[in-house]
Structures are given as structure tokens and as C-alpha cells.
Amino acid sequence: MVDTAPTTTPAEQRAAKRHPGRAPKGYSMRTLPGFSVIALFTMIVLYAPIMILVIYSFNEGTSLAIWEGFSLRWYRQAAANEAVQDAAIRSLYLAFIASSIGTVAATMAALATTRTRRFPGKTMIYALINQPLMVPEIVTAVALLIVFATIKVWTGHTSMIYLIVAHTAFCIPFAYLPIRARLETMDMSLETAARDLYASPWLTFRKVTLPLMWPGIVAGLMLAFVISLDTVVITEFVKSAGQETLPTYMLGQLRRVVTPEVNAISTVILAAGAILVALFFRLTQRKG
């Protein structure tokens, strides 16, 4: 997109002639003084804390700052910790169900709201789908607390269903984004062609639309999964007793003495997230 400009443009050469002393060597309008230094500093700052956290998760000793040698001790301890196991399984279970339902709902909604004329209610549907993105998480969380607390008292029912529906609603806009983006790049005439070639609406969807929008759906699913795994505020307010997820477990641990066990769990979460994001990037960046 951006042209690969030659090292000196005519304008630069002219400038060099006009102000012989002032035009520095390798002068380029694309670099601004100091910007690269700040940028590199920022990138280091962005990664240093994460790196330190990861490194100390492999520390032999209990300290979060003094290095005492490499060990997998904290990983073993975390893996053996029943509370962690429990929370990890619950997190995965929750993320799996919420992101699956959310992605199906988001896919249907994306099909309904893209590549269309303005139909009555389109703007409303669109606003509703994006609503969870526009309200601070804490506000959504306490609103859910108010509603669910009442329901829990009335029914006495305290299963995972509350967390599942809350996460599903929160996942929908995130799943919707990449699916919608994918659909919008898709050529309508392909579906018209399928209809022309005797495919019923359902077969057109199955044989043409779905395979073509598939990367968007997978990207949406992964995004929704990551979001559900990350969500701590909503979970904290909606969960019933004994329904810790990994993030709420860690948030609880921070009140006590922190050991590198938290670092070990964090590292695993980071790694899982990074892998999903890398896959997401691959799916959405590749054209066609």
C-alpha cells in the first residue's frame, strides 16, 4: 500500500541542493527525530514486565525478584493444586461453551446484518449486538449481579448457567467483529451464481457461503474464547460460591502472600492466549 520510496526523492535532492549543510545523510521524511527511540523504549517496556513474570515463574526459590536457579517447581505445584485444577477446568469449560454459543449466534446475526439494504430494525440489531462493548465491564457486572441475585434467591438454583449466559452475551460482539469483516469482503455474486446453478438457499449457504466465511467464524470463535478466558470482572460478580475461574482464583490469591505459583499460572494463560492470537492473525490477515 505504502509506496516503497527510493532512498532519495526528487524533492529531497532539491532540498539538499538548496540547503547544502542542513540536509543530513540518509534524510528521510518517514523518520522523525526521537520517535524510533521512544518506540523501541515503549516496545521494551511493553514486554519487560511480561518477560520478568515469565522468567520468575521458573525460579527455584520463593522470591519474585531474587533468582535462585531454574526449576519447574511452581508449575508442578500449580498443576497439583486442586483449586487451580478446578478453576482451570471451569475456565476452559466456560470459555468453550460460551464462545461456541456466542459464535453461532454472532454468525447468524452477521449473516443477517451484512450485505443488505437498510431493513427495518437493522440499526437497532446492530446497536444491541455491540452494546456489551460500549458499557464498562463493571457496570454490566453489577447489573447482572442485581438480576441474578434475585433469581438465585427466588429459585435457589446456583449452577454454572449464570456464568454461561453472562459470558455468552459478552462474547457475542467479539465473535461478531471478524465474522462481519469477513462477510463484507465476500462477493455476493458467488451466492447468486450458486442459486443460478440450481442450489436451494440452504445448499447455497452450506456449499458456498459457509466454506467462504469459515476463516471469519474460526477467528470469531478464537476471539470469543480468549475474551471469555480473560473476563474477570463479570465472573467475579456473577459466580456463586465455589465457582472460581482461573482469573478470579488469581485475583483472590493476590490478597495473600504471592508465590511464583501465580506466575506459573499466568505464564500458561499468556502462552495459550498468544497462540490463539497468532492463529487469529494468520486467519484474518491472509486475503482471499
Binding site: 505504502v2 518506540a39 516496545m43 511493553l46 447468524m108
Partner: protein, 310 residues
């Protein structure tokens, strides 16, 4: 040729259109229902709750009351029932607002050069840099906050290094201060500033910068007079995108600010926990939501104007 000759829409067309609208609604229905029930609807219930009376053990009594809303900014003296400003709340509002502004400014100072740097990289490397900025954006906010905590705590790496070097004798108390919150929020929200500015710089037509130089502008003048106005929409977008979650932040101030340095989000939580004042919590939530909506509307107007301009 544009005359319609007074045709009514054909029966077939009307039929097809109606069926199309109905199908699109049916397709949207699952998402719409889930969100109405478990995201948008509860907000309306919260409006109702903000006008009720607090229950003795949390929850509410079903009696109408404006106390919830009044208590957001004033408080009643326990003994003589006189009203006075709720100083604690006001200082929390102020902290939320000022820390959000500071966070926005700091992320801009670091984010703008970073975005510029990435956008001016050669194509292959640009994607790598972009990826590197995006990964923290999608990685767990709590984990990133924990990373900051471990860096700045009294037994953390920074204090340790400074002690070893003999710069300080005793650890600097950084945790549980406003500084910690500001630093943490700057760190976690930085990618939100970089990405929109990157998009704006990426769109920038560098021939315009050349033209400015050709017309004798120095680098600084070209930046101020040509580049900055052109990437302004990206800067505004980034600022709003940082400001909004900062204002509603909960996790970062909770972990880094401790129990004393509350922000808006923590104040809300307090009403549903130890405070046992759900109507006040609901009213505070609605206040926060309104503040965020105002910022969002401004954002939408600015960005849609940008889109209309080209």
C-alpha cells in the same frame, strides 16, 4: 430517465422484501435475545434499583427512594440529618477522572511515536511489529496487571535493582499509590492508543509531507502543520479508546491501588460488598455509564466525520 412514472412497488418485490426482512430478524434473534436478557436488559433493571431503598443485608427493599441518587454526591449526617458533600465520593470521581486523563496523555506520548515507527517500517517487518503490539492487547489484563505488580512491589525487581546499585537505602513504596494505578493503566491500555494511530499514519499520503518539505517546511513544521492535522482522527480515536476503559477500570486499581486508592469502578463494587447499598451502587453505575456514553458519542461523531471527509 429517473422519473418513476408513479409506479407502486410491485407485489412480488414487496413480498420478497417482507420475507427478507423477516428472515434477517429471525437470524438475528438468538443474539438479540441473549444480549437483551443478559446484557442490555439488566441495565434497565438497574435503573429501577437505583430508585429503591437499600436492604439491611444487601439487596433492596421495594420502596421508592431518591437516596441512592442523592448519595452519589451528598451524604446525610448520622446525627442531625443535615446534608453535606460526600467528600469521599467526590475525591474518588476526581481521582478517576484525573488518572484517566493522565493515562490518556501518557499513552499518547509513548503511543504516537510507536505507531509512527511501526507504520513507517518496510511492509514485511511492519506486520511483525504490529503483531507484537497486538499480542499484549489480547492477552489477559489481570496477568498484565500482575506483571506490573511484581515489578513495582517493595520486594520487586525495580526496588531490588535500585537497592543493589545503592541508589536507595530502603525500598520505594510504589504499590498502593495513585502512581501505581496510573503506571499500570498506561501499561495495560497502551495498545489501544497505538492501533488507531497506526491506522491513521498508515493511511497518510507521504507525498503531502514531501510537498510540505518542498515548500521549505522544516521537519518540525511539517509535523505540526501537515502530519498532525492529518492523523488527528486517529489520535482522537486512540484517546477515547484509552479514556473510556480507564474511567471504568476495576481490576488494575483493585490490584495496584489496594483498598485505599479507589476509582469509580471500585466505589461501585464497594456498594455491593461491604457498603451494602445497592441503590447507590446502581446510581453510581448509571453515572459511570452516562460519562462513558458521552465520550462514545463524541468518538462516533468525530470518526464518522472523518469517514465522510474521505
Amino acid at each position: 430517465m429517473a422519473e418513476t412514472g408513479g409506479y407502486l412497488p410491485g407485489a412480488l418485490e414487496a413480498e420478497a422484501e417482507k420475507a427478507d426482512t423477516r428472515n434477517r430478524w429471525l437470524l438475528s434473534l438468538p443474539a438479540v435475545i441473549i444480549i437483551i436478557c443478559f446484557a442490555a436488559g439488566p441495565l434497565l433493571v438497574m435503573v429501577l434499583y437505583s430508585f429503591l431503598t437499600p436492604g439491611d443485608y444487601g439487596n433492596v427493599k421495594w420502596e421508592f427512594s431518591l437516596e441512592g441518587w442523592m448519595n452519589t454526591i451528598v451524604q446525610r449526617d448520622i446525627f442531625d440529618d443535615t446534608l453535606m458533600w460526600a467528600d469521599a465520593h467526590i475525591s474518588i470521581f476526581w481521582r478517576s477522572f484525573s488518572l484517566s486523563v493522565i493515562t490518556t496523555v501518557l499513552t499518547l506520548i509513548f503511543g504516537l511515536p510507536t505507531a509512527w515507527f511501526i507504520a513507517t517500517q518496510p511492509p514485511g517487518r511492519r506486520e511483525l511489529w504490529l503483531f507484537l503490539v497486538t499480542v499484549p492487547f489480547w492477552s489477559n489484563l489481570l496477568v498484565r496487571t500482575i506483571a506490573i505488580q511484581e515489578l513495582i512491589r517493595n520486594e520487586g525487581v525495580i526496588n531490588l535493582v535500585l537497592l543493589k546499585l545503592g541508589v536507595i537505602d530502603a525500598p520505594i513504596q510504589m504499590m498502593f499509590t495513585d502512581f501505581a494505578i496510573g503506571f499500570g493503566m498506561t501499561y495495560v491500555y497502551l495498545p489501544l492508543m497505538v492501533l488507531p494511530i497506526y491506522a491513521a499514519v498508515d493511511k497518510l499520503d507521504f507525498r503531502l509531507v514531501e510537498a510540505a518539505h518542498d515548500l521549505y517546511a522544516s521537519r518540525w513544521t511539517a509535523f505540526r502543520r501537515v502530519i498532525l492535522p492529518l492523523i488527528k482522527p486517529g489520535i482522537i480515536a486512540g484517546s477515547i479508546l484509552v479514556f473510556i476503559p480507564s474511567l471504568g477500570a476495576y481490576v488494575t486499581p483493585r490490584v495496584l491501588g489496594g483498598g485505599k486508592n479507589l476509582m469509580f469502578g471500585n466505589l461501585i463494587e464497594l456498594q455491593f460488598g461491604a457498603g451494602r447499598n445497592w441503590p447507590l451502587g446502581a446510581a453510581l453505575s448509571l453515572m459511570l455509564m452516562t460519562a462513558v456514553m458521552i465520550a462514545l458519542i463524541y468518538y462516533v461523531r468525530v470518526t464518522s466525520r472523518d469517514r465522510a471527509d474521505g
